[in-house]
Symmetry: C2
């Protein structure tokens, strides 16, 4: 008998018919002899409707009472799923964040889970009930309702799976799984059967968008095996598992890209200790996330520093950096709003030489000019002209033979 | 500094504007130096919307998961009221039933309050905050959400007022207070400034509809002074207080009527011990509420038994009673669907002779025939033809001089 956590997002519970579908899947899993916990989000659109009510009343930042308000969305979902299960003759029980109980800090709207006391869940599972848990919500030490922020229901599901030592945490979504690249760009993109946590993290943060990075981090930390699959059919999706379970995987697992990228270059920066920090600190203070940072070897006591920021934050980034550059007596500041980042990710590249060279060759053969290069242990990223994104992604997908099943 | 509980029903929080109005009233009360607890219902229509969703999913009777679902209605209201208060610069905090905590039995959909641990409320009041409590909901010993059934928010407010020893529990409604009779029937009906609990109970159960009998019972038991008033203006409404606070009140306080009445007569019932019980037991078993019961003195070993039932339950009552009458060898069963009950209520009639006679004279002078009479310590009721209801109520209101301020 396996213990399985099933997580259904807002689009998977967006109507009464879809709620019945969730109940059907959970019941089928229970019927196969498994112990089943279902974690659900608010019905699609509900959270926005509730936030709209709040905005009519007040102009305040997100805090305690907003969480009281929006957490009703998941509460409605769990009640309806439990009712649908019971209507189908399956014993079920809903549990809210404070009933589970999922204890978080008190950072309303972006709370972090601290502990889960899953004894109420385990008790119900032992009675043979399906437990339907409200995603996205928890309770702080004072007993106030908290919410976890974007992707919160994934987090709830993964943390719950860790707490009850589940065999797998199934993430139901509107895609079939995780692909070797964006199928909209690469027609030959292939569903990945198994992918390691670290690889998934690199793909998630690069914009694969199926799983939030925070959920993958928690899954990795607690060794929770994830199964990303479609809520619309019973076919297998993609498993996200500990690296050691992906025996002899392919060198490159996937090709990601991020169009929301802009490049800034500050010329003739003094090559003194602490200068880079002084230059970039204003960006951090403005809440702007700096991604790729390149500093070339200095010549004549000066160097050029280039970095990327999200395209939609380019203007505020420029305002901050120009001030800093003047203060430091640096040279001109130039920028390009129309760049993109393409990345190849694969745990196998750790032990394999020539992966980077293959990337540069493929881009060169496709006529794509590389503007910046940055590498990590399992990822190589190149900043290129935005207009070449699709061409580059297709060329890389082809070059690493990703359309074919791995040997 | 007084402690005041303010209760606002669904029509008083039915829109964002009305929610702002609730916040304004609570803030004004706080500004006058009072400690303020606000109890609110779900926005008008919300509970029915949620029950509609449940009905789409299932066909089950009211139970645990329905309470999880419908209790979100009050949760949305308390969050919005707290936000509106904070937007107006007033410190406020919402509390759900389980946070207060309001402990009930586990009869979902019609739970009874067992205890209230108001320490969280008192703590917040001592910080100077307005506490906004979700009406209608509680939590059972296992931590499951429960709801209190019809009129539940009034109950929550009165029980909360008892728990924190409030000076008054204000019930905001869409009428100005409690009237000497239905103003739609009696143009001269006058708002009652003060009325005793027992009188209010008799008026409530007779269909005055402003306050549910259960709330008045709890208020009486715990000595909670009620103030029934309009949510649309600041004028005083009606106080419902311990009998001893209504010094030398009028003999008759109000005239009530109930059109939802039908009469059944069973002729020639054997006058033996236990026969009345045998006759009426099937009605109790069918859940039919028998109101007035009259049995005349027997002659020749037989008697006629008459009683009233709600008009909309007449058919099922007849089916039950005809079977019982046959079994007992009684005579014919006759019925009249078109009767009404008019009642005069007043604590003063305890010590005053001639009140009943005045009633019969007034009805006689108006040409209204009395079919049945029943009396309690503070109430006299007559069953009359339904068509004469308005005539009778006006005649009684006039006869007891209720349009004039009491001396």
């Amino acid at each position: 008998m396996a213990t399985i956590v099933q997580k259904f997002g807002g689009t998977s519970v967006g109507s009464i018919d879809l709620i019945r579908n969730v109940a059907r899947r959970a019941a089928a899993c229970r019927q196969q002899g498994n112990r089943v916990v279902v974690v659900v989000s608010a019905m699609a659109g509900e959270t926005n409707r509730l936030l709209g009510l709040a905005r009519e009343v007040c102009d305040l930042p997100h805090h305690r009472e907003i969480d009281v308000l929006v957490s009703t969305g998941e509460q409605v979902s769990i009640a309806l799923v439990a009712l649908a299960l019971q209507e189908a003759g399956v014993a079920a029980r809903s549990l809210l964040g404070h009933q589970v109980r999922i204890v978080t800090d008190d950072a309303h709207g972006r709370a972090r889970i601290q502990t889960i006391d899953a004894s109420a869940v385990i008790e119900a599972l032992e009675l043979g009930e399906i437990v339907v848990v409200a995603g996205f919500q928890g309770v702080d030490a004072e007993g106030s309702i908290t919410t976890l922020g974007r992707g919160g229901s994934d987090l709830s599901a993964v943390a719950m799976a860790a707490a009850i030592n589940a065999d797998v945490c199934e993430i139901y979504t509107d895609v079939d799984g995780i692909y070797t690249s964006d199928p909209n760009v690469v027609p030959g993109a292939r569903k990945i059967a198994r992918i390691g946590f670290e690889e998934m993290l690199e793909l998630a943060s690069l914009g694969a968008k199926v799983l939030q990075a925070r959920s993958v981090e928690i899954a990795m930390k607690h060794g929770v095996r994830l199964h990303v699959r479609s809520s619309f059919h019973d076919g297998e999706g993609s498993y996200v598992v500990p690296e050691e379970e992906v025996m002899e995987g392919p060198v490159v697992t996937g090709v990601a890209y991020d169009r929301n990228t802009a490049k800034i270059t500050v010329c003739a920066v003094r090559d003194d200790p602490g200068v880079a920090a002084q230059l970039l600190r204003p960006l951090g203070e403005a809440g702007i996330n700096v991604d790729v940072i390149i500093q070339n070897v200095a010549s004549e006591g000066h160097t050029d520093v280039s970095f990327t920021v999200p395209q939609n934050e380019l203007e505020s980034a420029l305002a901050a950096i120009e001030h800093a550059a003047r203060t430091l007596g640096s040279g001109t500041v130039t920028s390009d709003a129309h760049v993109a980042k393409v990345s190849v990710v694969g745990a196998g590249m750790r032990s394999q030489a020539g992966v980077a060279v293959a990337m540069f060759e493929a881009l060169g053969a496709a006529g794509v000019n590389i503007q910046m290069i940055t590498t990590s242990e399992i990822k190589i990223s190149c900043v290129i002209s935005e207009g070449s994104t699709e061409l580059a992604v297709r060329a890389l997908h082809e070059a690493y033979g990703l359309a074919m099943e791995p040997a």
